[in-house]
Symmetry: none
Subunit: 195 residues, 4 copies
DNA sequence: AATGAATGAGTTTTCATTCAT
DNA sequence: TATGAATGAAAACTCATTCAT
């Protein structure tokens, strides 16, 4: 009997790649089945619908990513270092699995509102990290959500540029510059570097 | 019968709203026709295809927006002021026509590569502005594309937050903070403010 | 432009015939389209779904039939005559449009419970007619619903036999016998015949 | 592993319930397997196909029922009594196993033509009983098939009403009334009761 | 220019059945 | 015998586009 775990994995891999490459709508279940080397009907033994597949791919990876960011932030001290490891992790994700990044970028708008309130998201991980820094006096008091948006924007936009060839890869090469910009955008003094 | 110019306008308005709200693929020509109060076939009197409609909407507004940014930048001196007016214009667009803003954000990547080489885009407007600042010694020498990504990210991400209710509107209220963050992220000294 | 009324009629006719002949499930939208001489997609310009088509066909004809029975009953006096015209009408329907009868027979179980309470049905028409006869002392007092079931059964079962070739057609030939049986089953005296 | 006889029984029970409730077409093999608590493939260890399952269920029970009706009729004398016991048996089947009753009713027409010529059916049991009564002069000479239809209709329709809640259960309570109506519908005189 | 019914190719989804374990 | 993952043919349904009016 075929290993259902393996089949599911093949579906996920094929779907993610195709979704990233041509978008969710443009990817047919037929394409996915062909790329995964399985029958079209088999997809429906693992997922209720194409939409369910998209949602599963999104939520699993989105939440998994948030959890890793939380863990990383917890392992380090000080805004500067926290930002650095978090941003490095983000860039590594991008470099190692560009398709996953592109997929998350593509579908987040349609899927974010489905997450049940209270779920850990990368966004919350960043927000908590900034909140802590304000509390610790590392950066001036400021609008927390706005500050979160700045950091997210500074990290995500270069990756988006990289996707479309407007910035050279690997993203890891840009980590120091990105971390610096994020740090500065929050109103931190360069000196905080050495704190 | 009806003023053809007005019909076209109704199509544009309906399409833009729907595209912004639910994405291009999820919006059917039937939806557009219904929302515009016209017959489905009428769309094809004004546009060759749905894709043509998307492209027209995108290119017209994208280039127009870039031109206004260029003009604004030209009217002011110094990175700080240029950033301020450019960012204010971004935020005003968002406040005045959120559908247009979201639409441009959604489809830009799919459509950017179709633009004739050399066409002015908002990205280029920002990029030129930063290049000038580096040349003028206002900010340290740095990777131009990365810096552009920072500024774009710092501007766009708060707007995205606003769309999802994570940041209060109007966006114009956030202009000073956003401009500051953009300015700082480029490595400018706060003092440059008063320069 | 094609006449939508005519197209809808072609769909209805083709669908009814096929449904009656081979059942609803066994009839595909492709079959219907072919039989109607239209494209498969055209069905969906007239009906939301195959199920909607079935429901429309059922409810329209079922209620229409009830209305005609009501009208007929109102035009005549005395249980005997009312039964006679009502049963004759039923048999004429059967003879003139056996497909319609067979269709109603096939789908009633799945669709009866969808009718909103208070809708006129053939069943109610018969029931009212019997209730009146009891009130008028034409037949002994008895369980109204049970009596209704008797009459319905006496009328419907022969038709069902006729469908499957267990009784010769036309059904109209059996009207006197059926009416007599119905009359007698209610406990009426033969004398009532001449009342 | 499990007792094969028990497994087959579980399949039969689950299938019968589901077929009765939602029809044969609407019941999937998956549903049956779930309801029976077995694997989908197991059905095919016991039946060649879904259709084979339906046929087996139908023919076994239909013929068994006919045989019991025959036996009951043989044990009694006179139309009145024969009708009474036969109708009681009908009603008891309904009360004891409504799913089986409904199933037989639903699928009989689709399956009757498959029965070998000469097989005993409930229809024949009723028909023979009426034929005997005519021969014995208990009821007037009349169309035998039509008369059979009357009796079947008078018995079956109340049961259908009971399914839809239009008549209170148990059906056994209605046996005297139903038998009376059947008796009368055949043109028997009420006095024959006491003959 | 405008209409809107019709199209048909293409999509998602279903489900009885098979087969390796 | 039992399992249940996989199959694939066929189903219902969608939708950008066409075209007669």
């Amino acid at each position: 009997m075929a290993d259902p775990y393996e089949t599911r994995h093949k579906i996920n891999k094929a779907a993610l790649d195709l979704f990233a490459e041509q978008g969710v709508e443009a990817t047919t279940t037929k394409h996915i089945a062909q790329a995964a080397g399985i029958a079209e009907g088999t997809i429906y033994r693992h997922y209720v619908s194409k939409d369910d597949l998209v949602w599963d791919l999104f939520s699993t990876n989105y939440v998994g990513f948030a959890d890793r960011l939380d863990a990383l932030a917890a392992e380090h001290t000080g805004l500067k270092f926290k930002l650095l490891v978090v941003i490095r992790h983000f860039c590594e994700l991008f470099d190692n699995d560009p398709a996953l990044y592109r997929f998350l970028l593509l579908v987040q708008h349609r899927n974010l509102h489905r997450m049940k309130a209270g779920t850990r998201t990368p966004l919350l991980a960043i927000r908590d990290l900034i909140e802590q820094a304000i509390r610790d006096g590392e950066i001036p008091d400021q609008d927390l959500d706005l500050a979160t948006a700045f950091v997210i924007g500074i990290v995500v936009q270069p990756a988006t540029f990289a996707v479309y060839g407007r910035l050279p890869r690997p993203m890891v090469d840009h980590v120091p510059s990105i971390a610096d910009a994020a740090f500065l955008s929050l109103g931190a003094h360069a000196k905080a570097d050495h704190a």
